[in-house]
Structures are given as structure tokens and as C-alpha cells.
Amino acid sequence: MYAEWLFIVFSVLSVLGAIGLVLFRHPMSGAMSLIVTMISLAGLYALLSAKLIFVLQLIVYAGAIMSLILFIIMFLNIQTSDLPEEKGRFYYLLGGTILIIPIASFLIKVVKSLPGSQTTIVGNGFGGVKEVGLVLFQDWLLPFEIVSILLLVSLVGAVVLAGKRRLSK
């Protein structure tokens, strides 16, 4: 019962944050409401007894990635006059909603046909660091290595791209 209430609170918060991201005009307000979404999603992961992902969502997503985005937004020093006009965004929003609703209702219908189970907390260290680490380094070793190479390549690419001006002088 208590978990049900927590789920309702977190899901309402995350949907509100997502709607705020789409509707706020300034990207700084949008980033702040996206952080609300991320933190409430971390709470949902905890309800699904994914302990490691809960911690990583807080540290990596709400911490590192969002602070990087906020840092770049502040670095570019965006004033309200710099923002694009976006006159027709409500029309686009309306048209997009009309397009999306059939797809979303189909997906929700598919989801509702799945076998349900209660969301009680699983014991036996389900989702803990040790168990996820064992799965990661036994069954998913090759994807893990590929992702590490991807991270390295993207970091080198970011340095090359952002430091281009200084090099060409």
C-alpha cells in the first residue's frame, strides 16, 4: 500500500517534470524540470528493487549529465532575447499530440495484456552491486568493452570539436 502511494507520487512528479521540459521557454527552466523527472525516476527504480541503477541514476544522470548540460547552458550565457521565436510551437504540439495518441494507446493496450505481478521488493540481493557486476562481466563482457571504446572515441571527438578554434590559430 505504501509502495503504491510512492509510485503515484513519483510518477506524477516525473510526468509533470517532462511536461515542464516541453513547455518552458528557457532551456534552464527545462533542465531544472528534467532534473525533477530524473530524481523521481530514481525513486521508481528503487521501488523496482534495482539498487545499483537507483544510485547510478542519481549520480550519473541527475548528477553528471545534467550538470554538464546546465554548465553548457550557463557557459553560452543565453538571454531571453537569444532564444528562437517558436511562434507555431503550440500548433506543432497539437498536431504531434494527435499523431502520437493512437500509437500511445496501442502501446498501452499491448502493455496491459502482459502478465502482471506484484511489485514487492525482491530479496536475495536482486539488483545489488555484486549480482549486477557478475552478470555484467560474465554475460555482457563484449558490449561492456564496446561501450568503453565508444566513450573513449566520443571524448576524443568532443575535445577535437570544441578545441578546434584554438588549434587553427
Binding site: 517532462a18 527504480y45 502493455v111 502482459l114 511489485t119 549480482e131 549486477v132 571524448l155 571527438g157 570539436l161
Partner: protein, 98 residues
Amino acid sequence: MIQNYLILSVILFCIGILGVISRRNVFTVFMSIELMLNAANLAFITFSRLHESMDGHVLALLVMAVAAAEAALALAVVILLHKHKGNLDTNVFSLLKG
């Protein structure tokens, strides 16, 4: 019930698509993509809980790493575009249009 988590994931994904469709600010479009990645993560974790296997957790971890790489690269590109055009409108960045 576990279906509610999946329904929430569908709703968040659709809001992310709406953000990409309707906004022209580069940062908002980028953060909407992040929101879609998060919705996919929620679906992974929920299915992982449904089947009580931890492969979904590992996949969510990999998605987080991909999101970090994407953030680093995309923000570098945004800085470069802002230097060249002095603007954040996605309609201005039409170099590949021909």
C-alpha cells in the same frame, strides 16, 4: 501493479517525442532525447523486475554510458554551432539541406 510502470514509460517516451517535434531550441530538443532514453531505461528495469533477471539492469547501465557519450559529443557540437551562427534555433542549422 507492474503494468503501471510500463504505461508511465510509454507516456514519458511520447512526451519526449512531442518535445522533439514541437520545439526549436537545440537544448530542449537534446533534453527531450535524454527523456526518451530515460523512458527506455524505465521499461528495461520494469521488464527486468517482471522476469526477475538482471540483464535489464546491465542494459540500463549501457544506455547510461551511451547517454553520457552522446551528451559530451552533442554539447561540443552545440558549442561549435553557437560560435559559428550565434544562434540556438534548429532551423538555422541547415548546412546539410543542400
